[in-house]
């Protein structure tokens, strides 16, 4: 382990949040919580980036009093990247929410595992119906 682990609280929190979001996204059966997990995961990455841009004792990158020295402002790049990223994550969650509504309308449940069971049932039943028809068709 390196020494930065004692100073980089934001990054450590970001890693923990990333993993919490990741687990929510993967093993929560509920679709709404999955989407929140996705948002938490994205927010964690943005926290990581923003913490990277911070420099102790400097101010936000908005020119004040005409000072144009790099020693006076924090790094503007991470902020720009995060700004772009937030838009992307909103778009993605909106699409997932729309999909959730459609899935609910179709299957009457928000539980993805339940939905998968229903799908499997439908599929197997269809297959068996086809096979049965065929058998009866042939024996007749």
């Amino acid at each position: 382990m390196g020494s930065s682990i004692y100073t980089n609280y934001e990054e450590i929190a970001a890693v923990l949040l990333f993993v919490i979001g990741f687990l929510n996204l993967l093993i929560q059966p509920n679709l709404v919580k999955k989407i929140i997990g996705l948002d938490v995961m994205d927010a964690a990455i943005y926290l990581f980036l923003a913490a990277k841009g911070y420099i102790a004792g400097r101010t936000a990158p908005i020119v004040t009093d005409g000072i144009l020295s790099a020693d006076h402002y924090i790094n503007p790049i991470p902020a720009g990247l995060v700004l772009t990223g937030i838009v992307v994550s909103v778009s993605v969650s909106a699409v997932m929410m729309a999909l959730t509504i459609c899935l609910y309308r179709e299957y009457r449940t928000l539980d993805l595992d339940e939905i998968l069971v229903m799908l499997q049932e439908q599929e197997t039943a269809q297959l068996q119906r086809i096979q049965r028809d065929e058998r009866e068709g042939r024996s007749a």
């Binding site: 390196g2 990333f18 979001g21 990741f22 996204l25 993967l26 679709l31 999955k34 996705l38 995961m41 994205d42 990455i45 990581f48 980036l49 990277k52 790049i77 991470p78 990247l81 772009t84 990223g85 992307v88 778009s91 993605v92 699409v95 997932m96 999909l99 959730t100 459609c102 899935l103 179709e106 299957y107 993805l112 939905i115 998968l116 799908l119 297959l127 086809i130 065929e134």
Partner: protein
């Protein structure tokens, strides 16, 4: 700077603009706009390819007024132009090949949205091919993911919603891993453009600082892109997503979208993460092993599957395995073979996905093997197309699948001894398994089934679809017979790639 050098930029902007404009057009106009746009992209990419090959240079194109470490830029070379040509060609043929099905499957009021998505997908693929900036790559990866999700759910049914949401979940995990890798890369190098970042990385490697983050970055970015392209243990979303949508979507998803991510990965390896340095690491070995496992397990899953479209989707898992195996060999020849296979797999899979619905149509909607008996006798042209695609997948000489298998086998000779033997054995096993499941279907569709003759009557024959299928068949033969120029172009493009 000559006008021709602007063409890659024009193709990206043109496809984005047509995507935006399609939003207020009606379905028919949007369709024509899409076809014209793809044709224009194809022509412009061909001109660019010609220019690059004649001058034998690659150049960077500034997106704005600021040069490399400050502004965005794209980079154009023979390899990029070649990929753009093939992507545009396959897009055009896939859309034309499924056009009758599209008219049936997509609601009239949503056609313009569908074509808008296709245009933006083309734009994002072109941007992924050309971009020289990591963050631009991330943004366009997201466009690619969302449009692909739109293509899956365009045919509204519960099953497609489920596959779309599973696709989104897996893809978002991939994007998340890629983005956190990207943030770490930025935090240790301070650059987002590929070339300056790689210079900074070379300095870091020399000074020995940040060794641990560098390794983790490499793992995160590679795994992220591998998840998105569907490498073996992350492939669970593939069969559902490819298996049930409209055929054009399946063809585009399997032959273009996943290839875009793999191309980006190769570019990352070459431009930023130092491919030659990678040979010493374990990462390529892991990719190689996963590729091999994917080649075999994908084929086994395909054998177990009875539904023809799902079987073809599983075979895509195997083919992605081939590509990663080629990259994992760790030699330039391996990457060349992988790149050629990206093109040739695109041609084969587009053909298969486009012709399968025609066979299903003349079998009363049945896609299982028993139901398809005699389908090729009822629709001879589609049967022939399927046979060509299947033969190509198996690797019969004169067809493109043979060339890529040959290239893989030849590339393996240059690799380490253990890798060489493993690759050869895996190729042999995978080819045998390919034979089993494809020839089984070919035999089934040619088995006479007189009692089903009546099913052929209602089936529609669309001349446009047939022309597109003929085009794909010709492409398969052309890549098989006249492969040397393509291989030469890939080779020369790869030499100026990094």
């Amino acid at each position: 700077m000559s006008l021709i050098q602007n063409f890659p930029f024009f193709t990206i902007i043109l496809s984005m603009f047509s995507g935006i404009i399609s939003f207020i057009l009606n379905g028919k106009a949007a369709k024509w706009l899409h076809l014209l746009m793809t044709a224009a992209v194809l022509v412009m990419s061909l001109v660019t390819l010609n220019w690059c090959m004649v001058n034998n240079v690659s150049y960077t194109f500034m997106m704005g007024h600021f040069p490399a470490p400050w502004g965005n830029e794209i980079r154009v070379g023979t390899l990029e132009a070649l990929m753009a040509v093939f992507f545009a060609l396959l897009m055009l043929l896939s859309v034309l090949g499924g056009i009758a099905n599209l008219d049936r499957d997509v609601q009239d009021s949503k056609k313009n949205l569908f074509y808008s998505m296709l245009d933006l997908l083309m734009a994002s693929l072109l941007a992924l091919i050309y971009t020289n900036d990591l963050f631009t790559a991330y943004v366009f990866i997201e466009i690619c993911t969302l449009t692909a999700c739109g293509l899956i759910m365009i045919q509204k049914s519960g099953r497609n919603y489920v596959s779309a949401i599973r696709y989104m979940i897996m893809s978002q995990i991939g994007s998340g891993l890629f983005l956190i890798g990207l943030s770490m890369l930025y935090s240790v190098t301070g650059h987002l453009l590929m070339t300056p970042a790689s210079e900074a990385l070379a300095q870091l490697a020399k000074s020995g600082s940040f060794d641990v983050p560098l390794e983790v970055i490499l793992i995160l970015m590679t795994v992220g892109l591998a998840v998105k392209s569907g490498l073996y243990p992350f492939h669970t979303w593939i069969p559902d997503s490819y298996g049930y949508t409209t055929p054009t979507s399946s063809a585009i998803l399997s032959s273009l979208v996943s290839k875009g991510y793999i191309f980006l990965l190769i570019k990352l390896f070459y431009r930023t993460l130092d491919f030659n340095g990678l040979e010493n690491g374990k990462l390529l070995d892991i990719l190689f092993v996963l590729g091999i496992v994917g080649m075999i397990m994908g084929s086994v899953d395909a054998i177990r599957e009875d539904n023809l479209r799902r079987m073809t989707a599983y075979s895509s898992v195997a083919q992605i395995g081939y590509i990663f195996m080629g990259i994992g060999l760790g030699t330039t020849a391996g990457v060349e073979a992988a790149l050629f296979h990206m093109v040739s797999h695109g041609a084969m899979k587009a053909l298969l996905f486009v012709c399968i619905p025609d066979l299903v149509d003349v079998s009363g909607g049945r896609a299982d093997r028993a139901g398809l008996t005699g389908a090729a006798r009822r629709n001879r042209f589609a049967g022939f197309a399927f046979t060509v695609g299947a033969m190509s997948m198996v690797g019969i000489p004169l067809l493109t699948g043979f060339v890529s298998k040959y290239l893989f086998a030849a590339a393996a000779t240059g690799a380490l001894r253990t890798k060489m033997l493993t690759a050869w054995i895996a190729l042999a096993i995978s080819t045998t398994l390919n034979c089993v499941y494809f020839l089984r279907v070919v035999l089934a569709i040619y088995t006479p089934a007189p009692e089903k003759e009546a099913l052929a009557e209602g089936a529609a024959h669309s001349p446009v679809e047939r022309t597109a299928m003929a085009g794909l068949i010709a492409l398969n033969f052309a890549l098989g017979v006249a492969s040397p120029p393509v291989v030469w172009a890939i080779r020369s493009g790869l030499s100026m790639f990094s």
